[in-house]
Symmetry: C5
Subunit: 364 residues, 5 copies
C-alpha cells in the first residue's frame, strides 16, 4: 500500500502544483488583483483607400491627433496605466464610467452607446502553450466617427495579426471601408478565435475520454474537475457576447452603416453557434463524469468478483484440510497409503470443478 500511496501522490502532485498557480487565476469568480503596468504601448494604424501609415507612438499626446482626421485610425493601447488611459479617454470624449470599465479587469462582456461613441468590452481567449489550459484577456473597443481605440492588458499577444496583414493590402475590403467595418473586423476576429480555442479543448476532451475508458485514476478525476472549471470560464466569456452583439445590432447608432449591419448579423450567427458549442461541451463533460463514475464502479465490480471467486474456491480445500488436520486417534483413510494423495486430489479437484461450473454460468 505504501508504494501505491506514493504513486498516488506523485500522480496527483503535478496536478496540484499546477493548480495552486494557474487555476486560482482561472477561478471563474476570483479575479487576480490588477497590477498597474510599468509602461503603456500605443500603436497606430491610419489608413484610407489609398494611404496607409503605421507607427508606434512614444507619448500620449501623440495619439490625440486622430480625433478629427479624415482617414480611419486604429489606436491600439497595450497596458492599462490609469493616468494615460484617463488622458486618452478624456481627449476622445469617453464617459468616466466607461473609462472605469476599461481600467477594471474582470468585466462582464457588454456594449454601451454613450456620447456618440460605441463602446464594447469582451475577452479574448488563448490556449496557454505551457499547460494547455484556457487563458483569457480583456479587451475594450471604442468606435468613434473615424477611429477605433482598442485597450488591451497585455502587449505580448493578441488575435489581430491576420487583420494587420489585411490592412497593409491596398485592395482589402478593410481599406475600402470606414471605421465601423474595422470595428466589426476586430470583434469578428475575437469571436472566430473562440472556435479555435474550443477546437483545442475538444481535442483535450477526446484524449481525456480515451484515458478514462482505458484507466480511470484520481488524476483523470482531477482533470475532469479542471475541465469542468474551464467550461465555466468558457461559458462566462462567450455567453454574454451574444447579448453584446445583439445590442450593437439593435443600437441604431449612426456610427454603424446599414451595409455593415449585415456583417454584424454574421457575427451574431457565429456567436450563437459558439454558444451552442459551449452547451455541447458541457454535455460532453457531464457524459465524461458519468462515464468515469460508471467505469470506476464497473472495475470495482470486477475486483469484487475475483474476491468472491477466490473466497469460494478456497472454501472446500480449507474445510477438508481442517477435517483431516484434527487430532483424532481414529481418522478414516488416514492409514491408507494413497489416503494423502486421494485427499489432496479431491482438495484440488473441487476448485477445478467449481471453475468449470462458474465458467459455464458466465462468471468469468
Amino acid at each position: 500500500m505504501e508504494f501505491r500511496s506514493k504513486a498516488y501522490l506523485s500522480l496527483l502532485n503535478p496536478f496540484e502544483l499546477f493548480r495552486s498557480k494557474q487555476v486560482l487565476h482561472q477561478n471563474p469568480t476570483i479575479e487576480a488583483p490588477r497590477t498597474e503596468p510599468n509602461e503603456i504601448k500605443i500603436f497606430v494604424f491610419d489608413f484610407s483607400k489609398d494611404t496607409f501609415y503605421q507607427r508606434e507612438l512614444h507619448s500620449i499626446p501623440d495619439s490625440f491627433g486622430f480625433l478629427n482626421s479624415q482617414s480611419v485610425s486604429w489606436i491600439n493601447v497595450d497596458g492599462l496605466r490609469k493616468d494615460d488611459v484617463n488622458a486618452i479617454g478624456t481627449h476622445y470624449g469617453i464617459h468616466p464610467l466607461i473609462i472605469e470599465d476599461i481600467l477594471s479587469i474582470g468585466q462582464r462582456p457588454k456594449m454601451d452607446d454613450i456620447n456618440d461613441l460605441l463602446f464594447c468590452v469582451l475577452n479574448m481567449l488563448f490556449i496557454s502553450k505551457r499547460d494547455n489550459t484556457i487563458e483569457s484577456e480583456q479587451i475594450s473597443l471604442v468606435l468613434g466617427k473615424n477611429f477605433v481605440i482598442s485597450f488591451q492588458e497585455d502587449n505580448t499577444r493578441d488575435v489581430f495579426d491576420p487583420l494587420r496583414e489585411k490592412l497593409k493590402a491596398n485592395n482589402s475590403k478593410l481599406r475600402q471601408s470606414s471605421a465601423d467595418f474595422l470595428f466589426y473586423s476586430l470583434i469578428d476576429m475575437i469571436v472566430d478565435n473562440y472556435f479555435l480555442v474550443m477546437e483545442k479543448l475538444g481535442e483535450r476532451i477526446e484524449i481525456l475520454e480515451d484515458e478514462i475508458i482505458r484507466r480511470a485514476t484520481t488524476r483523470s478525476l482531477a482533470k475532469i474537475n479542471l475541465m469542468r472549471k474551464e467550461m465555466i470560464v468558457l461559458k462566462r466569456t462567450i455567453s454574454p457576447v451574444r447579448e453584446m452583439v445583439y445590442g450593437i445590432l439593435k443600437s441604431e447608432s449612426d456610427l454603424i452603416e446599414e451595409k455593415t449591419l449585415k456583417y454584424f448579423k454574421d457575427v451574431y450567427d457565429h456567436i450563437n453557434q459558439a454558444n451552442d458549442m459551449v452547451e455541447n461541451y458541457r454535455d460532453l463533460m457531464m457524459n465524461l463524469q458519468d462515464l468515469y463514475v460508471s467505469n470506476v464502479n464497473l472495475k470495482m465490480n470486477e475486483v469484487m468478483k475475483v474476491m468472491a471467486i477466490v473466497t469460494c474456491l478456497l472454501a472446500p480445500p480449507t474445510v477438508i484440510g481442517g477435517i483431516f488436520g484434527m487430532n483424532f486417534e481414529i481418522i478414516p483413510i488416514a492409514h491408507l497409503k494413497a489416503g494423502f494423495y486421494l485427499t489432496v486430489f479431491v482438495m484440488l479437484l473441487i476448485p477445478v470443478i467449481m471453475i468449470f461450473i462458474f465458467k459455464r454460468r458466465g462468471w468469468f
Copy 2:
C-alpha cells in the same frame, strides 16, 4: 484475471478502433478540416407544367442560363470547389457572406433573405451502413425567382431520390407549382428523413436496453457514451432548423406564395415534433444511464451477498477444525471411535442449518 483482462480489451478494442476514426468526425464540436474536392458535379432539372428536362452539366458557364428562364430550374451542385461556387454565386447574385457560408462546413442551420434571394443552410442526416452511427452532411439551398440551387458536399448520396421521381411525373403537384414549392419539397424531404434516422436510433436504443438489462459490461458503457454523443449531434442538427423554418414562415419574402406558406407551416409542425422526439431520446438515454448504474450496483450487491454467505458458512467449520487440530495431550472425544465422524458431521451440519435459516430469511 489475465484472461478476463484480455477479454475486456478485446471487447473494448473494436470500439476504440471505431472511435478514433469515426467519433472524432462525429464530435459535435470539432469539424474535420474541409478538403477542396477535385471535381464538381452539376445536375439540372428544368421543368414546367408541360416540359421536363434533366441533364448533367460539364462546365460552370453551362449553369448560367437558368437565371431568367421561365421554367423552374433546380440546379444541384455536388462538391464545394471554391472557385466554381464563387462563379455560380456571383452569377446568380448571391451575397459574398452567403457564399462563404456555403463553402465552410459546420454551419449552424439558419436562413437569410438577402438581395431577393432566400438562403438556408441545414444538415441531412444519414445512418452509416458500415457501423450504424449517425452521419451528417451540410446542404445549402438558394431560392430565386425561378430557380433553386442546392449545394452539397458529397455527390454519392442525398435524400432527394423520391423527389426526382415525382419530378418526372407530369401530373405531380411539384410540376404544377413554382420554385417555392420545389424549395419547400427539398426542405420537407430533409426533415422527413430526420424521422427515419431517429427511428433507426430508437431501434439501437431498444437493443442497447436489452443488452444492459441482460449483461452490463464496459462495452455497454462505451455504447451509452457513444449514443449520448450522437444525441448531441442530433440535437445540434435538428434544434436550430426550427428557428430556420420559423424564419422562412415570417420572412414575408415575395419569393414564397401565400398558398405555399401552408406547406411550410406543415414542415414547422414536423420539425417541432422532431424536436420533441430528440428530447424524448435524451430522456431515454438518461434512463439507460441510470438503468446501467443501478444494474451494476445490483449485481455487485449480489456478489457481495455470495461472499458474505460463503464467509459465514465457512466460519464454524474453520473454528471447529482449528479446535480439534490443536496439539493438546488430552482432547475430549479424540479417542472415541466415532469422534471423527461426529465432528465432521457437526462441521457439515452447521452450514446446512445456516443455509436453511438464510433461505427462510430470504437471503437467497
Copy 3:
C-alpha cells in the same frame, strides 16, 4: 449461485417477454407501421333541440348529406381506410394536408384553422386491461358549420360513451347547443380521461414504491425503467394539447361562439393542471429512482457490515487454533488436563466479548 441465477432470470423473464411486445409499441419515438384497416365504420348522431337520430352508415356516400343540414351532426369514423377518408375529406372540404395528418398516425397534437374548418388532432389514453400499461390512440376532430367529424383508428373503444348518453337526453345542454359545444365536449371528455389514466398510474407508482422500500430487485429496476418510459409517452401526449387548446382559444374562428369560449377556457385550465400533474409524476419517478439506488446501497452496506463482523469474530479463534496446532515439541499447557477446555473457552469467549463491544458501539 445457480439457483439464485435462475430465480433472477425467472423474475426478469416475464418482464422481458412483455417488453419485446408491448414496450416497442410504447416506445415514444417509434410508431408501429400503420396497417390499412379492412373496414371502416361510420356512425352518425344527428340532433337538434327537439330531434335526435343515430345510425350506423354502410356506405361512404351516405355520410355526405350532413354538410348543409340544419341540425347538428356528429359523424364518427372508425378505421382510417385511405380512400374512404379521402372521399369524406374531399366532400367536406378538408385540405389535403389535413387529410394526410388524419391518415398518418403518430401526429403531434395540434390545431389548424383552414378553409372555414377547425381541425385538431390529439391522442386518447387508455390503461391496457391486460398489463396495466398506458396505451394511446390518435383521434382527429373536424369542426364545420353544423357538423363535427371525428376520425379514430380503432373501433373497439373510445372515451365518448357518457357523451352519447347525454346526447339521448332531450334536456341536455349538448342538445340545446350548436356544433361548437359538441366539439368542446369531445375534447373535454378526452382531457378528463387523462386524469383517470394518471390516477391509475399514480396507484402503480404507490405500489412500486412499496415494493422498492420492502425489496429492491432487478425486477423493480425494470419496472422503474418501464414507468419512466411511460412518463415520456404521457408527456408527449399531454404537453402539446395545451398549445392546441390555446390555439383554439385564440383562433377567433367564427365557428366558435362567444359563450362556448368560456368552456374552452375551462378545458385550458384542466389541461394546465394535467401538465402540472405530469411534471409531478416525473418528480415522483425521480424520487423513486433515487430511493431505489439509496436502498440498494443501504442493503449492500448491511451485507458489508455482516462480513466485516464475521471476519473480525473469526480472527482470534483462527489465530489461537493456529498457535496450538503448531507441531512444537514443547507447547505450554498442552499437557494440562484442562488445557484444551481452557483454550476452547478463550477461543469462544473472545468473540462473545467482541459481540458485546460491537453492540455497545452500535455496530449491530
Copy 4:
C-alpha cells in the same frame, strides 16, 4: 442477521403504517374521492364602519338577503353539499362552471372574472398535529359588490381567526373598507399561513439533516422520500397562486378599488417570496439526498477499511501457524524449548508492526 433484520423492520414499520393512510391522501396527483358532507354550516359577518353583526345561519334561504345589502357581508360556507352550494350560487349569480369548480376538490389555484363576480380558488395549508405532515384544504372565494362568499370543505379549522378578531374591532381598517379589502385580507391570511407551514417544514428538514449526519438509516431514507413528496405538494399548492394573484392585479375589475390594488401588489410580493422559498426547500432536499448518499458511501468505505485491515493483519499469523502446523518429521526449532514462545511472539509481533505502519500511513 435475524435481530438486525427485525430491528430494520421495526424501524420501517411505523413509517409504512403511516404511509398507507396519510401519504396516499397526500399523493400530489391522486385526490381522495370527495364524499358528500352531511351538513353545511353557514356563518355570516355583516359589518360597516359602525355596525357589526355575526350569526350562524340555519337555513340556506337565510343567506340570500345579503346580495344587495349596503353593509359588507362575509358569508362563510363550511361543507360542500351539492344542492346547497348550487342554491347559493344560483342566487348570487355564480356561473355554473364556477359552481362546478367550487364543488370538485383538487382544483388548481386560479382566478376568474365572470358576470361581475371575481372568483378565486386556492388551498390553505396546515401542519397536521398528529404526524407533522402537510395537509391542504381547498377554499373558494367569491367577491361581489358588497359581499364575499367563502366555501370551505372542513368546518373544524381555517386560518381566519385573527381576521375575525379584527372584524370585531371598530377602528380596524377592515371595518372601514369595502368588500374588496375583506377579499384581500382573506387571501393575504392564506398566503401568510404558507410561511408558517414552511417554517415548520424547515424545522423538520433541520432535524432530518441532524439525523442523517449522525446516523443514516432506511428510516431517514423513507423520511427524505416523504419530504420530497411533500415538496411536490407544496409546489403544486403555492406555485399557481402567483398567477392567480397576478390575474387579480391585471383583471381591471370594477370590484377592486384603486387603493386596494396596492395591497394585492403586496400579496404578490409575498407569494413571489413563498415561491422562492419553495425552490430553496427543494434545493435543500436535494442537498439532503446527496448528503445521505455520500454519508452511506463513506460509512461503507470505513467498514471496508476495517475488513481490509483485519484481513491484512490476519494473513501473517495464519501463514506462520500453517507452516508450523505441517506434519513434517523434521521441523526447525520445533524441538527448542523457546520455539513455541518465539514463534507466537513473531506471530503477534508482525500485526503490531503492521498496525504501527498503517497508523503512520494514516489508514486508521
Copy 5:
C-alpha cells in the same frame, strides 16, 4: 474501530456545535424571530456643494427638520424600534405598507414607488469574522426630494464607510450631486460588497477543493453541505436585486435625474455579473460534490484491490499448509530432511510470483 469512531465524532462535533447555532440563523427559509431593539441610533449627514454637517441625533423629532431643507440629507437609522420608525415614516410620508416592510426582516429585495417616494429593500452581506460564514443584514432605503433615509437593523456594522469618507471631501461627485446620486451610491456600495463576499467564498471553495482531493472525510461532506446552503442564501440575496435595480431603471420617477440613470445602468451591469457569478459558484459546488463522491468511490476501489490481492496471495499458502497439516500416516516428503524447507519455500515463492505477475498486469 473504537478510536476511529471517536476520531470521527471529534471531527464532526465542532461542526455540529457550530451548526445548531449559526446555520439555523442562516437557513435560507427560517428567519430568526425579530427582537425589538432597546435603542435606536440616528445619524445625519446634511450637505450641499459647499456645506457639510454630520451629527448623531438624540431624539426622533430632531430628525424631522430635513423634509424640506434645500441641502441633501442622509438620515441613517440603526435599530428598528417600531414606534420610532413609525414616527419617522409618518412624518416623511412613507406608506404604512412600506413601514411594515421596513420593520419586518426577511424581506425579498424589491423596490416600490409610492407617494413620490422611491423605496427599496435589499440585504447587505458580510463574512462573519468568527467562523467565515456568510451573514446578511437587511437594509431599507427611502429616496425623497432632498433626502435619503436608510434603515438598518444592526448599528455595529455596515458597508458605507468609504462613502462617508467621500462625503467629507468637498470636491467629490457625491457632494456636487443631488439626493438620487447618494441613493445610487448606497446601492452601488452594497452591490460592490457582494463581490468582496463572493471572493472570500471563492477562496473557501478553493481550500475545500484542496481538502477533498487530499482527504475526503465526513467533515468535508459537512462542509460541502454547509456551503451549498450558503449558495442558497447567496442566490436568495442577490438574484432579486436584479429585478429591483431594473425596476428603478424603468420607474420613470421624477426623483431620479436623467444623468443618474447611466449610473443605475452601471449597477445593473454589476448585479447581472454578480448573478452570473452566483451561478458559477453553484456549478463549482456541484463539481465539488461530484468530485467528493468520485474520490470516495476511488478510495474504496483501492481498498477493495488491497483486499483482493491479500486474499489471493493468502490462498496458496493456506491450502498448502492445510495439505501438509493433515494427519495421514503416510505423507510424501514428510520424512525428508529438507521437506519442511522446500514446502515453506514453495509457500512463500508462490505469492512472490503472484506479486510479480500482478505488477506486470498493472494491478498495483
